[in-house]
């Protein structure tokens, strides 16, 4: 193994923290969704690392499922963004306080 497992987990932790910050701080729905993708990528990184360290391909399978769910999430999330943009052009997450419009 080229680097210790702790290094991979640390990189994954840093990327996940950046994703959390982006999701909470950005005020554009699409960029919030992209921050979610950054977090999912961080998790995939640690899954691939564990798969390599424990010498077990299950980690990679799990990462593949995470990618499939990420694709589903992107489809539904962006469908919501399109619907939102049609009903309230230019609305950000701060405007969505009434659950109904």
């Amino acid at each position: 193994m080229i680097v210790p497992m702790g290094v991979v987990l640390g990189l994954s932790a840093v990327l996940f923290g950046i994703g959390v910050f982006g999701f909470l701080a950005r005020r554009n729905v699409i960029l919030m969704l992209v921050s979610t993708e950054i977090m999912l990528n961080a998790v995939n990184l640690s899954l691939a690392g564990f798969s390599r360290y424990l010498d077990d391909p299950s980690g990679q399978i799990l990462a593949l499922f995470v990618i499939a769910v990420a694709a589903a999430e992107a489809g539904v999330g962006l469908g919501l963004v399109i619907a939102l943009n049609r009903n309230k052009p230019g609305a950000g997450p701060a405007d969505l306080t009434e659950l109904k419009w």
């Binding site: 193994m1 497992m5 994703g19 701080a25 950054i38 299950s58 539904v76």
Partner: protein, 180 residues
């Protein structure tokens, strides 16, 4: 590849991925953010390669960088880009968000010392492989055997999830017929 070049490649890609993730969440222009996320995905694919996860690296490039990100870029065209650049990029609560991200990252960073990875797992995995003198499991053949063996049912359910997502996206994004 010798161990030293592999290590240098890993650390340079780690630094580059952290930098592009930071740039992605802080750039004002959403298109620039997307391009930095693309750089992040490609660097993570490189790290997958170094972790002997070739199939995952290919899927990362094709599905993530190729399909999902392009989809995001297309939807981004709906935005009023000049107006978006003119508005503040963060909400007023961004210091709180930074604190949350930092504390989560720090917690996960600390948690990695709790894993036995430093010696136990590391050494056990390496010893097991050295004993059998085989290449690490996780190649394409191993993944295929796992995917259509023990993971066959979850694999089929994943296709159901994707189908539900397709139908949901079409229903959500469909233009309502006049009068309804």
């Amino acid at each position: 590849m010798t161990s030293l070049t592999a290590q240098a490649a890993f650390y340079s890609m780690a630094v580059a991925s952290v930098a592009s993730a930071l740039l992605a969440v802080t750039r004002k222009n959403p298109v620039h953010s997307m391009l930095w996320v693309l750089a992040l995905f490609l660097h993570v694919a490189g790290i997958f390669l170094l972790l002997d996860a070739e199939f995952l690296a290919v899927v990362q490039v094709i599905v993530y960088a190729g399909a999902i990100l392009i989809f995001y870029l297309f939807v981004l065209m709906l935005l009023d880009l000049p107006g978006e650049v003119g508005r503040p990029r963060f909400g007023r609560h961004w210091p709180l968000a930074a604190a949350a991200g930092l504390s989560f990252g720090a917690l996960a960073w600390l948690a990695r010392f709790g894993t036995p990875a430093k010696d136990g797992v590391d050494a056990a995995g390496e010893a097991a492989r050295a004993a059998t003198e085989r290449s690490p499991r996780g190649g394409l053949a191993d993944i295929g055997l796992e995917l259509f063996g023990p993971f066959a049912l979850p694999f089929e359910i994943a296709s159901l999830v994707l189908l539900a997502a397709i139908i949901g996206a079409v229903v959500l994004a469909r233009r309502r017929a006049a009068g309804s």
